[in-house]
Amino acid sequence: MTLVRVLFYFLSFIAIVSALYAASSKNLVRSIFVFFVTLFSLAGLYVLALADFVAVTQVVIYVGGILVLILFAFMLSGKETLNVLQKQEGKFLNIKKLPAIILAVLFFIVLVNVVFKADVNNLPWVKDAISLKNEVTPTDIMIDNIGVNLMTRYLLPFEAISILLLVALVGSAHLSRKEGKA
């Protein structure tokens, strides 16, 4: 039981428990802030998967951008949201939620079975990568390699995604403008 394993179990425990709380909470504000905890612990998991740059991006974009956007939407959609929440008081396991719970649990069972049947640790290409030393080790610094690859091998998807981001931002600004003025 190394320290890395202990950290992995700790972070994944926090991620799953906080996601469960966000799913079961009646209070929208609480659910948003607990989702914040989930995102942070997922960033920790990315570090443990030796993807530190992705972890930093996760913190900057998700925690800094997306969560603030969600909070804004919550505040701008006003008191009505809270009224909807007051109406559905009751236990977590009430009868209306039962089909959703059954669906999620069945999906979980099937997917876990798939993961164990696929035996991902012994995939041929993973074994090849290990034998060819094509595996990221904890002492490697990947950020310069990511930058070079982004500008050479993955230039086309990079440009496509930048255009898509521009279109999405212009579109959302257009959608959320005041009616009747333009």
Partner: protein, 101 residues
């Protein structure tokens, strides 16, 4: 050493929680949080497999693309939520049942 299976099981759990939120919640913002959870489960898979590709970094780079896509999705979804709230005065998806008023 953390194996790939551990990461995959965590991401399966997150995916199922997100699926539960998308199916059962009666609030558009919480459904959006569920979608974000599903996206994060996918990103965790990409990152976990990306460990075995040191030269091309495909896993990590496409994880970055997925994060950017999630940001664009959220911006558009929130603009739509604000518009729906302006028109219907509620963001409960069950009560939004008219295409045009």
């Amino acid at each position: 050493m953390i194996t790939l299976t551990d990461f995959l099981v965590v991401s399966v759990a997150l995916f199922c929680i997100g699926l539960y939120m998308v199916v059962s919640k009666r609030n558009a913002i919480q459904i959006l949080i569920g979608i974000e959870l599903i996206l994060n489960a996918a990103i965790l898979n990409l990152v976990a497999f990306g460990k075995y590709d040191k030269v091309n970094n495909s896993g990590q780079i496409f994880a970055l693309f997925a994060i950017v896509l999630a940001a664009a999705t959220t911006a558009v979804a929130l603009a739509i939520i604000l518009n729906v709230y302006r028109r219907y005065k509620t963001i409960d998806p069950n009560e939004i049942n008219k295409l045009k008023d």
